[in-house]
Symmetry: C2
Subunit: 431 residues, 2 copies
């Protein structure tokens, strides 16, 4: 093998230029660590005539992806262009030609991971994707290697920076959802179409990847129950605080003998929980292992250089494998068949906020419904509502199955003394 | 290669029995991940006649280490017996016989790392030591692999659980150092002789290891400036809180163009800093990379199963290397010569608490000394002291070089209006 590693780069947007910058900046250190010199030979772009900062004068631009997949000199393809179907075609063709892949594309891995991994194994190609979850925060490797001797029973992740930024602002400044979203869009922290972030899809993709790795089961995006934070009320943040909780958009994956469940939803976390102190656009993944107990991995969830760092760290791993002749050996097939928990086996605590008519016996009537399904309460706050004849109630239950909670909820909805059920959230992180 | 990996275990204390427990408990998953079955053939103990729980009826006990180092059937030696000189001899002999090593021994790695690594490379042996820093928290691999494409400019670690437990208790319950230490000893969280913990030596060993890896320079334990928390005053914790800081025992390693410095010392951290919310016996390492920005790795710093998890995760890595034929390839020699910062180049903020005579012009006299060395203040609190003619002053400076601060401190000490300089701490984590 020669001492030069030749790279084809798909995409020259923010992360792509970050990759070039880091490769350039860390030339000596990469050479020291791997014994190799890295050259970016070809870059795939939409418009080859636009002027750009290229790594060297010999780097060529192309708008034909075959100039990369079919170039026998190219060892590794770095994919930072995004997109799904077309990108999948390119990566599959590249692997059929024996090229190793580093990608930052969570959508692709979450949706077509199985096919990509199968192709990589069949062609003895490496396929690395650390940047696809939590940007610059190393999380894939700690789960795969650092905790490889443990049984992971729970993962909770703040894996979307935009929503965490919005919730932090709402909590700290008491500003409502729409105002903060608008502000985040003006600052470029949120997209013009923010749905993938605020409706939880982006987080769900990342949780799919984490769940496959952490539980060694072949999950799909469709297995994730998703609820976002659109229109989340400031009142709930305030009441949650009074009850000793913060509200975060969390990906929750848990796993026990009854099966696994994966969701993304706004949830209440005790203020002392490590995830509660993850603020602004930061990401963190909290991992509970049977033996190791609580661990957490914290860092930037996005950004040009953080994401590019994860990409280039993957590239270094690929180069080491190439030198050692161990390419394509990193992936381990999921060990277990997928086994999703029924709603009966999904046990959680719940927070509810509701408006009720202020009349004698109301609370008794209400708690009677819950008691019927064995649901008792940890905390209740009752306060005067805006209307004189109403009361606002905030309640936190003890552990309850989703099935029982559904039943109680339906009866509750039918109760004439209940004016509105304003919010229901999961409560996490307690004993 | 056969599908059985034969292990010799040095030590059958807490961590040793944890290793046996985890190997037993995770048999199938290890077999799935590595394609190998692990057997513990021989265990080195002090007293072979004591009755014990052994993994299998065929496991043999010995008090002669050569029964392990000279047994050609043994592939991997797991060292969880502690100790330095004798243990070094055993591990060196084991590697000369081609055996791979997994160790949890921070003292050994901090003091004899260079010799151990040289021997491992010469014999193409693996030498893994994830458990030596921060117990079950994966931190070595994230630094070596996850951030391999970044330049780490700063690491701050809460890497000693005992002292963090003591400081958490003092902060939360307002109890003084001696009382909490006694309590921690009664509960078994602190040793009968607590000096290695509370005087900072244990943390210094871990920071030595982290600095070698993070900065790729050959540091020794002697390069670490160590100050512990013995006798730390409750008053400082309270005042720090008023000023918006918590006090933690932190290992601080930083590195820029003027060189590197490594220390362990009690320091003030803003309450909003990620390390400030690391409580009780938990450990965390905060890593600042030029490109990635802030990351943090959090988890249990000690304990039977967490530490054993790290050991067995290392064992899995060793087995994978054995199967792939890539043993002995993980270690990279430090890239740079060691370059320690002079005190002139060490810039920090300082917190001081002092008792001064209550007389006109006192504060002017005092600040004049600081001004002389270009030291200005970020915050000052003055309060009535216990004696009527005294005032107590808490001051936080802006950035200052250690050299200038030393000079100002000496002049301060000579000042007749100053009754006592009670405490001086580093202030970290600001902009």
């Amino acid at each position: 093998m020669t001492n030069t590693i030749t790279v084809g780069l798909l995409g020259l947007g923010t992360v792509g230029s970050g990759v070039i910058e880091i490769l350039n900046d860390h030339k000596e250190s990469i050479q020291h660590k791997t014994g190799c010199h890295v050259t970016i030979k070809t870059v795939l772009v939409h418009n080859v005539s636009k002027s750009r900062n290229l790594p060297t004068s010999t780097t060529q631009l192309t708008d034909r992806y075959q100039d990369i997949t079919e170039d026998p000199e190219i060892d590794v393809v770095i994919e930072v262009m995004g997109g799904i179907d077309h990108t999948l075609t390119i990566l599959l063709e590249a692997m059929e030609k024996g090229k190793h892949i580093v990608t930052a594309n969570k959508d692709l891995i979450a949706q077509h991971g199985a096919q990509l991994f199968e192709t990589s194994q069949r062609n003895s190609c490496d396929l690395y994707y650390e940047a696809s979850v939590a940007g610059g925060t190393p999380i894939i490797r700690p789960i795969l290697d650092g905790l490889s001797s443990d049984r992971i029973s729970k993962m909770m992740g703040i894996v979307n920076g935009t929503t965490n930024y919005i919730l932090t602002k709402m909590t700290r400044e008491g500003v409502d959802f729409d105002t903060v979203l608008k502000e985040a869009q003006d600052l470029g922290f949120a997209e013009a179409d923010p749905s993938a972030d605020i409706d939880g899809l982006d987080a769900a993709r990342k949780m799919t990847i984490l769940s496959i790795l952490g539980f060694s089961m072949p999950f799909n995006l469709e297995d994730v129950a998703v609820k976002g934070i659109r229109g989340l009320s400031l009142s709930d943040i305030k009441y949650a605080n009074q009850l000793g909780y913060s509200i975060k958009l969390i990906g929750i994956a848990d796993h026990n003998e009854t099966g696994a469940s994966v969701s993304v939803e706004p949830a209440l976390l005790p203020v002392g929980h490590p995830l509660s102190s993850v603020h602004n656009e930061y990401n963190a993944v909290y991992v509970y292992g049977d033996a190791v107990g609580e661990t957490m991995f914290y860092g930037p969830g996005a950004g040009k250089l953080p994401t590019a760092t994860a990409v280039v760290s993957d590239l270094i791993a690929v180069i080491k494998n190439l030198r050692l002749g161990t390419s394509g050996s990193a992936y381990v097939q999921p060990q277990f068949p997928k086994h999703i928990k029924t709603r009966k086996d999904q046990l959680t605590k719940k927070y509810l906020r509701l408006h009720v008519m202020d009349q004698p016996g109301m609370l008794m009537e209400l708690t009677k419904i819950f008691a019927q399904y064995g649901i008792s309460f940890d905390q209740i706050i009752q306060r005067q509502a805006d209307h004189n004849d109403e009361r606002e109630l905030m309640m936190v239950t003890h552990q309850v199955s989703e099935e029982d909670f559904d039943k109680a909820y339906n009866e509750l909805e039918a109760l004439p003394t209940i004016r509105s059920i304003d919010s229901v959230f999961r409560v996490e992180g307690g004993e």
